[in-house]
Symmetry: C2
Subunit: 129 residues, 2 copies
Amino acid sequence: MVRPTRQRAAVAAVFDELEGFHSAQEVHARLRTAGDTVGLSTVYRAVQALADDGELDSIRTDSGEALYRRCSTQHHHHLVCRSCGRTVEVAGPTVEQWADRVAGEHGFADVSHTLEIFGTCADCRVPTP
Amino acid sequence: MVRPTRQRAAVAAVFDELEGFHSAQEVHARLRTAGDTVGLSTVYRAVQALADDGELDSIRTDSGEALYRRCSTQHHHHLVCRSCGRTVEVAGPTVEQWADRVAGEHGFADVSHTLEIFGTCADCRVPTP
DNA sequence: GAGCGCCTGAGAACCATTGTCAACTCTGGT
DNA sequence: ACCAGAGTTGACAATGGTTCTCAGGCGCTC
């Protein structure tokens, strides 16, 4: 049984306030400085629980750190700027279908997939003369 | 100055022999069992150097482990069995184009992407009666 | 062959993440 | 309200991939 607790609410609240991706460590630090003492383990657990429930979306940085963010329930992918980290959510029915079809053709069932697109966004691109 | 050494050649050779993605740890273990003693640190350095040179491509697993593979001239993705780990290489021109187009629409340049498909292969699926 | 640097490698350090476990706190039944 | 039981918490230890350190090794050039 999942029980609503102060700590869980606190973690969820952080993602309501913040835009974009944030690490568990960051959430923990933020709660600490806000005077809201929540154990680090608890933050990790809460964040993972939220991710399991589909309330948070997670990606990995190049350094292997896990980042989470409040996301829409519908399945989508991310377009991430290599320079400033800005992310755009993109939906791609085409890709979903393609992935399912290809997997099916090879006899794979219960299919899921991960897709991240990286690039340099317009703001970060240096206007080379 | 970059100097060609036995160790670096050994690491590069591993990726010539192997298909798909492999971790630095795995490369190290493989060299060890092959009687080719190369320090773990050196494997990490070699792998990163190769990645910097664009000879290897890297991704992160869900657990945060870094995987590398030889950049084949031909771009493709992987269909991985969750149970036995069997992988199938799949090419998807559709996806490539879609990714480029979507990125372009959002003003992103210099686009790359990672895509992995997970599922349960026919052999591992339990024939539920 | 000699000297200069880059390179190597064993181990320690690092750090995000996960595991442990006793104490705690909801929740439902009485 | 009270109690019992089960989910939760949090300080701390442990884990594991990756990086750092530094003394010694080795390739290159002269």
